[in-house]
Symmetry: C2
Subunit: 396 residues, 2 copies
């Protein structure tokens, strides 16, 4: 893994006045730059720490393929079933597709990506193999963390648990899960299984919870109970958590307090069409919040571009953040919130931190969030990996 030396000149760190950032052996450093060090002129742009893509599906984007004509039915299960069948007819190679999306992410400034990767009895662990190969190939460009994800259900599809175990042994870091009531029809069974796997393998959990209202709140209670019982505080993420978007504060407020106490993080896409958790309310309660693009241009939907700074704009729009100080919440979600939720070490722009950063042409941090200007330059462990929005050629 390359650990670069780089002097980034004339940048405004987190919007402060102009200065330099020194990176030595891949980490932000104090002191004077040595003679002959590589220099990047920041052109007075704002330096942010590398953006964190905390939830996407690298294995199944259709980026680079002919336009997919979406004629899918309206239910979640329609989309799940359609995807499994489309995977047999479309030329989706998880290695090629995940590399395409990862490089798109890099071009926008993400230096860390958590990808849920489908594991099921149709495709087995082919997706895991592909994304692991991309991770190895792009190791000097972007960090990728894999969640073994039972997209088609766990207990409803016998054989899936063994495949998840296989995925974890192959190198997937995190145990995934999905709607224990609505999809798996057995909340106790589903959650006991995935928390059991996490406990046995010593891994974290990241569970998709689309379930709305009281059903989702019930599943969330079961997740909180298991997190506490197994001492997994700080190692569990609940993705989407639409139930926290319901209007009944009498249900939502105690749940949020329990999430904070159990140190369970929430991942939001700031969906405009679903009830979503309030980002300010979660953060005020001390819950760690991260964000993700979710699927990018796949059989589920035609949207997305993997830009986490645009995601911050969407968080701002969804949560009606207008004041400059409010916009800083959205910025925190796509930077430090992601790092905390995913357990990244030495994240940030202070000396000693990993030398990941993105340069954005904006007058203020608030402008960077509200307008997500393009043409960014991105540095990974002291090496320039994208310049003015164009990623360096991938190594394959």
């Amino acid at each position: 893994m390359t650990m670069g030396d780089l002097l980034v000149r004339n940048v405004r760190t987190l919007g402060a006045t102009s200065g330099d950032i020194l990176i030595r052996a891949g980490r932000i450093a104090d002191g004077a730059a040595p003679d002959g060090i590589a220099v990047l002129d920041g052109g007075s742009r704002i330096a942010l720490p590398g953006l964190v893509e905390a939830h996407t599906h690298l294995d199944k984007t259709l980026l680079g393929l002919p336009w997919y004509r979406n004629e899918v039915g309206p239910r979640l299960i329609d989309r799940i079933d359609n995807e499994r069948s489309a995977r047999k007819t479309l030329p989706i190679d998880p290695l090629v597709q995940s590399a395409r999306q990862a490089m798109l992410s890099v071009s926008h400034g993400s230096t860390f990506i958590r990808s849920h990767v489908d594991v099921d009895t149709d495709c087995g662990v082919a997706g895991i193999e592909g994304v692991l190969a991309t991770r190895a190939a792009l190791a000097d460009i972007v960090d990728i963390d894999l969640v073994a994800f039972p997209q088609s259900g766990l207990l409803v599809r016998p054989g899936t648990v063994a495949l998840l175990e296989q995925a974890l042994r192959m190198g997937a870091e995190t145990v995934g899960g999905l709607d224990p009531c609505a999809i798996d029809r057995d909340p106790k069974g589903h959650l006991d299984t995935i928390f059991g796997l996490a406990d046995r393998f010593g891994r974290g959990v990241d569970i998709h919870l689309h379930e709305p209202g009281e059903m989702g709140a019930f599943s969330m209670e079961l997740i909180i109970e298991r997190t506490r019982a197994l001492g997994m505080q700080g190692r569990v993420v609940i993705s989407h958590a639409f139930c926290l978007g319901m209007p009944d504060a009498g249900v939502v407020d105690p749940l949020i307090a329990a999430l904070a106490e159990a140190r369970i993080a929430i991942m939001t896409t700031a969906s405009a069409s679903r009830p979503v958790p309030s980002v300010p309310r979660l953060m005020q309660a001390g819950v760690v919040v991260c964000a993700g693009s979710d699927g990018i241009r796949d059989t589920w939907g035609p949207y997305g571009n993997a830009d986490m700074l645009e995601r911050a704009t969407m968080i701002g729009l969804r949560n009606n953040l207008r004041r400059d100080d409010e916009l800083m919440l959205a910025l925190a979600v796509v930077t430090s919130g992601g790092a905390r939720a995913l357990g990244l070490h030495d994240y940030g722009l202070a000396p000693g931190c990993i030398g990941d950063l993105v340069l954005v042409e904006a007058e203020t941090l608030a402008e960077a969030v509200a307008q997500h200007p393009g043409r960014r330059t991105v540095v990974k462990r002291g090496v320039v990996v994208a310049r003015d929005g164009v990623p360096l050629p991938a190594p394959f």
Copy 2:
């Protein structure tokens, strides 16, 4: 007003197979192109009719000014009051600012803009004067329609009615209004006044209705009653109409039916943070729907870029449109829906229509909506006014 001759070669009209579009004397024409006609190579891009920006505030954008640090309170009235006071301290010249935003709109493909323009007892009709001057200066580049808009209230600020009359005499086309209950505190008085003006001057009405729930539904009923009584069917737009986003179908469905019957159009921004009308539901009921950017980077909020194709993406995200056929609804809103709502004549790409179009590099119409690719080329009445996303120099 320039009426250009242009042969647009090698374009896919509304996503169809490649062909040419001939424009003669500013209108789409049949037949063979004459020798020596100016030629634009479309590069196999998709041709759409010019996009319609149906609701913005050209007079008060802060585009091109130093970043405005937003520290405004949370209520609508806080933002209204803050804006009136900021207008005294910031260098906001309505002519300069409206021209900046209009050219940004043109660069994204809008060929028609409806702008609400503030009229109040502090600024008088200075905004109207400025935007009228921009309209004259940009007459060959973009069409602009002005709504005389009592942003700070009508009856609560004596003297405003006379200023609205003055604005209409100066050349503003349409009578504006604002939250007759919540802001003006006198729904009957407010609506009788603005519909009275519209009737006396022979103009249409476009009213901001942010009022939520039952209050908004009440105001909407009063608007429908007056539209019918004065025979103004087809000449009234209700902007925002958040009350139609309330969950109670027993209230919303009859209102939608009444809007369709009275041929009142709805303008939506597809706000992610407020209840909004369902675009598919309105269109299925036969209500004309148009869309707008609303304020772009002003004292109200830091967002926006005047891109109506990105607005179509936001309409898609807000209404959970995923299928290709569903995405066509969002495209209709920012094209033909805008034209119908604002009463534009000869709109479209058929022979005889005004020669306004935008070229978008996308494989399919659905991709154009879901991904809003940039670098568009824009034609106004047969003259190229933006090329690959860069507008031609404005004439001042």
